[in-house]
Symmetry: D2
Subunit: 351 residues, 4 copies
């Protein structure tokens, strides 16, 4: 329970600091005899990679190596270990951070908890580790897809620009047409404009990712403490900078009356509506599962900010390094990866 | 992983159907040599109990018996098992449900998953099981309180009546002055009026519980997958009818700029602000932890609703039984219980 | 990890002190829609119950009550909680133990670990808790039997009287013909004589239980750390007084040459021999699984023994109470129960 | 629960096939701020490495690389990932195995369980993976040593040559004077002679490793299912080829009378004897913990053996490859590693 292992039957162990030699992970519990599609893994990694305009200039080539668990292209049922080189770290840029706590970062909490930390680029607390999640999640997707499940996430809010339409009225396939992974071109355009302004100000901005799971078999999930929504919430809230999670009509249901959001099961055993978001009593009911994850703005600004030295001295500094204006588009494949891991775990338990 | 066990070192196993002979639980991992304050447990249970006006008329006396783990008033360090009798079930009221799925209930998903269910009063899916959580949570509170931690929740929204003030501007001790556990008398009054209308309409309404954890030791929590917020989110989303969770400035941070929500560590190592909600990198930073849990309206209405027989026949029926107009005030001690269990578990791991 | 929960998908939580009001347990993960055969559970409990001649005179009626998880005779897939009353405790007999540590008991280690203990009858450390294991194990047997698996244990050694024949040359059905559960009448007779002598001396004696699992599906088990033999060993070594475990030709294989114990897979994919004991690489190979569990003699003697007061004063006392001359026959159903729980858990994982 | 993760707070994930590019592991839960002594790790690895005379001729250089969790020589409290290259695999030697099951190997069970296997050198079932255990165990030793705990194992039997003396009458420091890790030079000499004969015959032979844990704090361990001996038994029985485990006077106690093996606590709270092997009720009592692990002879013989083709055809073949005559001396550091991991996990839970 030191925090770096997730899952019961599909179990993923993550490791690595931002500026160590490698990050990586081990997937234990992947079914055997699967032909892993390496292109899909590369695609998912590529979607997480920094995009030119509003992202860190760190070149994350993400050279991925598999060390075990595969033989002649097939999974063996044994642990799949993989590593990704941390190229292009520019660790020297962070030397001044050794004795300094940045605002709204984990520098201080890690130092207090562990009495030591790798200050370079955030160390273990860096979102760099999410690259390993994407690899594991991409494997998980390949487990659940043959059961008819798909996981698709998209950017539904950046700052105050909100894609208000319900996902059912969107063409999600248009998501990849822009680098923000927002399926509405017009909204995406306005988001781009906002990001331009924010970047000019040396600032950052938050946002929301919406995720849709289709084809989830009726009965997936567990009651009481391991409700499907509880597992999804934990997985999402484990993503760096995530501040909120809701599913179905979510926070909006707090203001609703019961008579307005009953999901009636029809004579053909489909549901007339889906306010519930595809889960009842913690268990999938066969409808789409959809949820939102809110992200705070990144705390690494391209402007002068107050800093606290380990001896309590206050100072002001413009933090260098290479940072995103908004990480939300890059969180899209991470949200998908975490959802896929939860579903793969639940599927293996339910089989 | 069948869903009825939560926690690693503080491990709670819950059992019982709504209309079985008993519900109850087993707490494994409670430290030894503690004098359990039974009055506090009774108080917490009493807060969860139905209140006259807007609640089920089921008399839940909650006669609690401890079966093990205590000797001469002290905890032995061995499992603490307890049971609560299910008195006053009126199971016959539910006979018609045997062959029928109610809208937005777990009837259908349980039947699909298990091929069998106890249809009486919702069986295992009934919120009746949360009484056992309250007992375990009350024990957990007694573990964390000597470390200076307190957990206080309150009703912050019912329907469209929102207690908008930040908790820091409220006197939480006023919470118990009304049966809604809302610390603002005026807002509570408006909530009461709303509930009266809703009840008159035979309808139900949702709401939000806000929870504040004070005194959490710096360093509590784990990084990456077991972030404190991930554990809290899972615990909250495991509560029946919970639809959303956020912490700190939560969903509101999606619209913020980074420069507006930096939490700067001051020269005296306190924070100047607390947009983060007391957690950074998954680890407590010493500030208050606060979060919200959104609840949907209860699906058991006192009006005619469409029902689906197991053979697909549709019908309309006014569901009898005894139900709350709004369960949110009764969820307040459940939210506290779940938070206390998460904290006790993290505390035992960190010690 | 406070020690009272075992299993992953078939998860059993045990509770209760010897002289508390009840012992009991919760089985989480039992498949739904099974008709539990209560007579089989009663039979298993009855085999564990003290027998007239060489056993404690404590009347353990084992009145068993199920509190949840069953409806109209069928398992619901929800937690099955049960309790057994601790009747006839005679707790006053143990009052002198409050300030005293008996030799080779857990009195001292419990006191040191917990700073408190229920001294009456050994408290949680009493073998009384194994009654709850037998109930859970009996449920587990009913899970695995439809898959063709059977678990049969018998007494194969008491003191220096050894039933040397390999189980394949025994008629295990004769086991129940004597109260020692030894399938060879002649050997059982000699064991009885030995027990008579030992009892006359006010002494106790150890022994060995052998267990045979038939019908284990090929492929059950997991590699590396969760090898089937590792899970079985842990389960067996968790039984009070167990001192050793081996499987297949066990300790005897240490002295063997490899050429003498090769298990060759024949053209029809059965094995020509079974030195391995039905497991290779941690995974069942379809042959019988057999293992031994060694038990030390009970430390509660009917003679004067040295005792240590909590202040260090030494004294000598004839411990009263009601104790077995040899617990090994009563351990037979406990060994079966633990094996069945391991197999049920592995089966649910493998499905 | 796919078998490749062990431990709760000290959690080790192992990966790698014998002839894949690397084996390795991830240690999650190692306390922070420890200076890892790399020489000790190298020493432990070196003890596991094949010795000239009676071992495989595979040159296992065990080039060890740490990928994460360390910074400037100190542990960060984050996952410690490491890899060991699989140099010198000679995989072509095993090509004939692709369609063939060797007797008493895991070839058949892996094929049946997974439907695919890496046949080269035993794949995941090869004892090659124990090198990763030794690294993790060596880290675990460095966690427990500051608490005064030491773990020392030695070869106590090879074939019928038994080192009969109790460990208390041996000078364990003499263990390293011979390549069999047997602390009695005379017995070691006779073991060497036996190995010479066995080798000449192209055969293999089994043996026993005895392990002694000193300085275990009173109170370490958990009751009921997580008894210290249960955790040790599981850890030991997870080692390839292990067939038996006992502790204290072990199987010998089955033949004893209770009056002969009482461990009396003396007025100074030390024990007069230690038949119990340092554990009572699953919890350490402050005395030495000692146990034995029995190993079967390796099944890879340097002689003609019957083999079974996947289509059922029988054949006879002299298996090539490079194999030990007796793996028992090489198991000595593996036994220590597994014991150290169990103790580190229990220690972190007890803190």
């Amino acid at each position: 329970m030191a925090g770096n292992v997730i899952g019961t039957l599909f179990r993923f162990t993550s490791f690595g600091e931002s500026h160590g030699s490698h990050i990586g992970g081990v997937v234990d519990g992947c079914p055997s005899n699967m032909v892993l599609d390496m292109d899909k893994i590369a695609d998912d990694l590529s979607r997480r990679r920094p995009k030119a305009r509003f992202s860190t200039s760190r070149v994350e080539e993400d050279r991925l190596h598999f060390l075990s668990g595969l033989y002649e292209g097939k999974t063996l049922g044994t642990p799949i270990a993989f590593i990704i080189e941390n190229a292009s770290q520019h660790s020297a840029d962070y030397e001044w951070l050794r004795d300094c706590y940045r605002p709204s970062h984990a520098d201080y909490t890690y130092q207090m908890k562990y009495g030591v930390r790798d200050h370079r680029g955030g160390g273990r607390a860096s979102a760099r580790e999410t690259a390993a999640r994407v690899v594991a999640g991409s494997i998980a997707k390949q487990i659940i897809e043959p059961y008819g499940m798909t996981v698709e996430a998209y950017t539904s809010q950046i700052g105050d620009i909100v894609l208000a339409n319900h996902y059912t009225s969107l063409d999600l396939s248009k998501r990849d047409a822009n680098e923000l992974y927002c399926p509405d071109a017009d909204v995406a355009g306005r988001m781009m404009n906002l990001l331009g302004e924010v970047q000019k100000d040396g600032d950052t901005v938050g946002g929301v990712v919406t995720c849709v799971i289709k084809g989830c078999p009726i009965g997936l999930g567990e009651p009481v403490f391991d409700r499907l929504q509880a597992a999804l919430a934990a997985a999402m809230m484990s993503i760096p900078s995530a501040k909120g999670f809701d599913y179905g009509f979510g926070f909006g249901m707090a203001a609703m009356r019961g008579s307005r959001c009953l999901d009636v099961l029809d004579a053909d055993f489909s549901f007339r509506s889906n306010h519930s978001g595809g889960i009842q009593g913690g268990i999938a009911n066969g409808e789409d599962i959809f949820f939102r994850v809110a992200f705070k703005p990144i705390a690494s600004l391209a402007m002068e900010v107050p800093l606290t030295a380990v001896d309590g001295t206050m100072m002001t500094k413009k933090i260098g390094g290479r940072h995103d204006v908004c990480q939300v588009p890059r969180a899209v494949p991470v949200v998908e990866a975490m959802a896929a891991m939860v579903l793969a775990d639940m599927l293996l338990m339910a089989r």
